[in-house]
């Protein structure tokens, strides 16, 4: 038995394939949009993965350190380290700022990590080039998305840092590349004012008679010194010992240390549910609309393709072809069009579209499978309209009209 659909496609295969490619570009955009959405959520999750923490200890009643600002004393870790079930602790600071390198500057999340050895919470878990930080000051490990190279000199506030290592996929929840620097430098970068502000503050303090008392030499210097020190960090990352329940450890820290503690799942809830919620919904809504529009366009294409063949269908009916055969012809063509479109879409989304987006695009296999199923279902549904038109055609049209 010969395939009517196949014969018909062969009849005008160029037109058919090009229609499929056009459809494919549309599907590619839809898949990319799904990838952008997934990428946003993934950005939030890799931020949590990369900190390799089980618990985040932050200022009381804040959603820090990512969603809100939080500041706790930098010796808070000592008390937390002594709590039962805590294996490792590390103070950490996060600050999104412009990092200068030569003429250009890059928006980056500067992360202060405590001195120690690789594997300490907060440190980049893996590198793609270079080495981890070994000096306690003025070294940086940067994400490759920042465009920095090994050996580059970065300027953060007034200090220069040498890039000694590169990472990949170390981004903030907003997709900004991360730059890891030693904690003491990061504390300075976060809380140190610019030189003009420091001078103005000194002058203001000097003019205040309460601080500048002639009977007490040295008081002014002491006050100024105390104004320009910083002993705060944004959070303490905690890894818990094997065999302890994260929620139990968190509860005891909350109870006895009077600090707010988030577990991994709570943190994910904050990041995905609060921090990126609106923008993710925005992209999600766009994805829904795009899907509906794509479905409509697929339906129109198949309907027009069928209408273009209406005379041939009338001939088929005239020579007594069964309705089932005609339905098969249209539906097979619709599915073939959908499959070509999907294949082209997947290829373009992966090879052409995803790499050019500035932020991460995550094309998940499950999304691809769902996308494929959706394309097939949409093709079948939209061919129903065309089938109705084809079955209603009067065989007389073949010779008449």
């Amino acid at each position: 038995m010969i395939s009517l659909a196949g014969r018909d496609i062969m009849h005008a295969w160029g037109k058919f394939v090009f229609t499929g490619v056009g459809l494919g570009l549309l599907i590619g955009i839809t898949l990319s949009m799904a990838g952008i959405y997934r990428g946003m959520v993934d950005d939030a999750k890799v931020l949590l993965d990369n900190s390799s923490a089980d618990l985040w200890v932050v200022q009381q009643d804040t959603l820090g350190p990512y969603a809100e600002s939080s500041s706790i004393y930098d010796d808070a870790w000592r008390g937390i380290r002594g709590m039962p079930g805590v294996a490792r602790t590390a103070s950490v600071t996060y600050l999104t700022m412009q990092v200068r390198q030569g003429e250009r500057d890059v928006r980056a999340m500067v992360t202060g990590v405590i001195a120690g050895e690789p594997g300490t919470p907060g440190w980049p878990p893996y590198l793609v080039a270079g080495r981890q930080i070994t000096r306690g000051h003025y070294e940086a490990v940067a994400d490759i998305a920042s465009g920095f190279k090994l050996g580059d000199r970065l300027k953060i506030r007034r200090n220069h840092y040498t890039v000694v290592g590169l990472t990949r996929r170390m981004v903030s929840s907003g997709g900004d590349p991360m730059v890891f620097i030693p904690l003491k430098d990061a504390q300075e970068a976060q809380f140190l004012k610019d030189n003009d502000a420091i001078r103005q503050q000194r002058r203001r303090t000097a003019e205040n008679p309460a601080f500048n008392r002639p009977q007490v030499p040295g008081l002014l210097d002491a006050v100024i010194a105390s104004q320009s020190t910083n002993s705060n960090v944004n959070a303490v990352l905690v890894q818990i010992e094997a065999g302890h329940n994260a929620e139990d450890v968190a509860e005891s820290i909350r109870r006895w240390k009077r600090l707010t503690v988030y577990t991994r799942s709570q943190m994910e809830q904050i990041l995905v549910g609060k921090l990126i919620a609106t923008s993710a919904k925005q992209i999600g809504m766009f994805l829904v609309i795009l899907s509906i529009v794509s479905a409509a366009i697929v339906a129109f294409i198949i309907y027009t393709l069928t209408l273009g063949k209406i005379r041939e269908i009338a001939v088929l009916k005239l020579i007594g072809t069964k309705n089932r055969t005609i339905v098969g012809l249209i539906m097979q063509q619709a599915i073939a069009l959908g499959v070509i479109g999907f294949v082209v879409g997947k290829i373009t989304a992966t090879l052409l579209m995803a790499p050019i987006f500035p932020k991460y695009v995550l094309l998940e296999p499950l999304d691809t499978i769902i996308g494929f199923a959706a394309v097939v279902v949409i093709c079948i549904l939209s061919s129903i309209v065309a089938i109705r038109a084809a079955l209603k055609v009067d065989p007389a049209e073949a010779i008449g009209g």
């Binding site: 690789p118 878990p125 793609v128 070994t134 000096r135 003025y138 691809t368």
Partner: protein
């Protein structure tokens, strides 16, 4: 319009569709989460490493002299400016003596008066002594009464007491004058040592309280770097180790050595403090307070298995590396030894020389990750 024969058309369609299908399979398997992770490998090497410590500090002067008055008063003059070299004992300035000179003048007059009183007492005493002697002789010749003689003796004793009182008064007044003169000298601000003037805190006419510094001196030969090492990176720090000093304002390095490690650490900043002295004081003199980076070289260690620190990861609480054995990944826990500043870490246990371990990976690895060994990870510009 001429159609291709069926065979030709099928062929043409295949030419278009087959590459698409191949590309699709490639895309599905080689990109996204199913794709193998590009990694670079290295062999565990047997090599000697030279650990080093890195810290930052400030240039400070070991001896810092704050010179000011010991009494509250007004600055009369200051002869030196910041940057001047001064000699030991040089007068740097003076405080306003107010009425001190007049009081010294008064003391001088007082001294003269007391000297006059002394000579008067001396004359009185001489006369009384003569009288006493004379009446003694007269009494011997029975020419005067016992009573008169006794009264003359008494007068002599009184005159003697007067003379002593006048002498002591002279001593007192002289001492008073010397005290005032000493105070007068004390108003001069003197350099205790040869040094460099670094601060001029008050100008002539300023009133300062007792103990407030007017001029500060440093001894330029005593410059050192007060350097802070994070306690976690201070293992092996000891006196007399060679140190490289990089000053923020100057190109090039200076050599020095660790003078001492402070017995008191900074408990707040969790840092160990040490003093590093220059082998040769840089010229021109670096500003006091300038930031300096210090690298202290520790003695070289004997050769041992060494891996790059980028290879070290912590999985499930254990420190280890991803080892490649027969093309499969295996997480091998390791115990680490000393490290140098270039990122080499000694492995005490877990690996032997020649083992192949993953250094860089494009993604976090798992035991079941498929890997693809490359020379350099894609996207890394060298």
């Amino acid at each position: 319009m001429k159609y291709l024969p069926v065979q030709g058309r099928t062929l043409a369609l295949l030419v278009v569709l087959l590459p698409l299908a191949v590309l699709f399979v490639y895309v599905a398997l080689r990109s996204g989460p199913l794709a193998p992770v590009p990694v670079t490998l290295t062999k565990v090497e047997n090599r000697a490493i030279v650990p080093a410590l890195f810290g930052i500090g400030n240039v400070e002067a070991r001896y810092n002299f704050k010179i000011g008055p010991t009494f509250a008063g007004r600055v009369k003059r200051l002869d030196v400016q910041v940057g001047d070299q001064v000699l030991a004992g040089q007068v740097l300035g003076a405080m306003d003596p107010v009425d001190l000179d007049e009081r010294i003048q008064a003391q001088k007059a007082m001294l003269k008066r007391v000297e006059a009183q002394l000579s008067e007492a001396q004359a009185g005493h001489d006369y009384a002594a003569t009288q006493a002697r004379r009446y003694e002789q007269l009494l011997a010749a029975r020419s005067t009464s016992e009573e008169t003689n006794a009264s003359k003796k008494h007068e002599l004793q009184v005159a003697e007491a007067n003379l002593n009182a006048a002498r002591e008064e002279l001593v007192r007044v002289r001492a008073d004058r010397e005290a005032l003169q000493a105070q007068r000298h004390n108003l001069d601000l003197l350099a205790p040592v040869a040094g460099l003037v670094v601060v001029r805190d008050a100008e002539p006419g300023t009133t300062v309280v007792a103990g407030q510094a007017v001029v500060e001196l440093i001894d330029p030969k005593s410059l050192w770097v007060n350097v802070r090492f994070d306690q976690i990176h201070a293992h092996g720090l000891a006196a007399n180790l060679v140190a490289q000093i990089v000053l923020r304002s100057q190109e090039g390095e200076f050599t020095g050595r660790v003078l001492r490690v402070e017995p008191l650490a900074d408990a707040v900043t969790e840092e160990t403090l040490a003093k590093v002295v220059f082998d040769q004081i840089p010229a021109p003199l670096p500003p006091v307070g300038e930031l300096a980076e210090i690298t202290v070289a520790l003695p070289a260690l004997p050769a041992a298995p060494v891996i790059p620190n980028a290879a070290i990861q912590r999985i499930n609480g254990k420190l280890g590396v991803w080892q490649v054995m027969n093309g499969d990944l295996r997480f091998t826990p390791v115990s680490l030894g000393a490290a140098d500043l270039d990122g080499h870490v000694q492995v005490r246990e877990g690996l032997t020389v020649g083992d192949r371990v993953v250094v860089y990976s494009a993604k976090a690895l798992r035991a079941r990750s498929r890997i693809h060994v490359v020379e350099q990870l894609p996207g890394v510009k060298s």
